[in-house]
């Protein structure tokens, strides 16, 4: 049986589906009977979702124009 501290160390690999089948089984056996580790797993899943929802800032029009100008220069000099 894994300890709670071991579950904490393995949780990201579990969430990402990167544990082998034996470790995944041990992880799930522990979490099934351990409310704090279920809470921790829930927190890590939520964190994954919240971080994944951080808005992506688009490139500013000024930067885009500067890059397009550089591209045009490059393609003319080729």
């Amino acid at each position: 049986m894994l300890s709670c501290a071991q579950v904490v160390q393995l949780v990201t690999d579990y969430v990402e589906g990167q544990l082998d089948s034996a470790d995944r089984l041990r992880f799930e056996e522990h979490v099934a009977i351990c409310p704090p580790c279920r809470g921790f797993l829930s927190q890590m899943r939520v964190t994954r979702r919240v971080v994944g929802s951080v808005p992506v800032e688009p490139v500013t029009p000024a930067l885009e124009q500067a890059l397009v100008d550089a591209f045009d220069d490059w393609s003319q000099k080729k």
Binding site: S3, F40, S42, Q43, V46, V51, L63, L67, W74
Partner: protein
């Protein structure tokens, strides 16, 4: 420091075996001077490039300069690009190196391997909050929790994804070591596959996994703290 003007010294042709058909077409359009293709690419990759650059330099303005420098390197190297890695990976690798060079000049940043950075080694992990566990030799509860761990997944969506929660996440990410932040951004925000992250940041997969775990755990701790306070206020 690798030379990115060509990803292989042998020839300037693109190895279509290694590239996706989309990349082959994209590189071909760019080489032909197709401005619309270039605009598509800068809109697609630009936000990621800026985020990565911003990790290593002091200001948004300098990050924009780094992105411009990186694109100039990309264009100069385009004829020599052989497609040994995906086009996006190649571009991101160039921006990482441009940003590192600029950051070193600014003396704000240093390579992942230098002192003070988290290179993802197994030792020195401070992400496990040891005060939340009984010791390993505790007679009754070895290495088990001493505290309650609230299940944030039961919070309503509008609270989890509120602007304030996003601010907590952004602040937590900005406080991470560069290497952890880079892995977290590329994995969780930009959705790059693990092998592209390893190639872009020149990390072994084991180190990538450790850095991702540490980064996500630190952000988790910030969210737990934030929601603990919110729940106490709401009670």
């Amino acid at each position: 420091m690798p030379d990115h003007k060509t990803d292989s010294p042998r020839s300037a042709s693109t190895d279509t075996q290694a590239l996706s058909p989309e990349d082959v077409q994209l590189v071909s359009r760019l080489r032909a001077g197709d401005q619309a293709a270039f605009i598509e690419v800068i809109r697609s990759f630009g936000p990621t490039m800026l985020r990565i650059a911003r990790l290593y330099v002091r200001s948004d303005e300098v990050a924009e300069e780094v992105v411009q420098e990186a694109w100039i390197s990309v264009l100069q190297g385009l004829e020599g690009f052989q497609g040994r890695s995906a086009f996006r990976t190649w571009v991101l690798t160039i921006v990482v190196h441009s940003a590192l060079r600029r950051g070193q000049r600014e003396a704000r940043s240093a390579p992942f391997s230098s002192v003070g950075q988290d290179s993802g080694s197994a030792s020195g992990d401070d992400s496990l909050e040891l005060d939340r566990f009984f010791s390993g030799d505790h007679p009754r509860w070895p290495s088990t929790w001493t505290t309650v761990v609230p299940r944030l997944g039961e919070l309503p969506e509008e609270k989890l994804l509120s602007g304030e929660a996003m601010g907590v996440v952004e602040t937590a990410i900005s406080g991470l070591p560069d290497s952890q932040a880079a892995v977290l951004i590329l994995h969780d925000i930009e959705g790059l596959p693990p092998e592209e992250i390893c190639e872009t940041l020149e990390l072994a997969d084991g180190n990538r996994r450790i850095l991702l775990h540490r980064a996500r755990n630190r952000v988790r701790a910030a969210l737990e703290h934030y929601f603990d306070d919110r729940l106490a206020l709401d009670a």
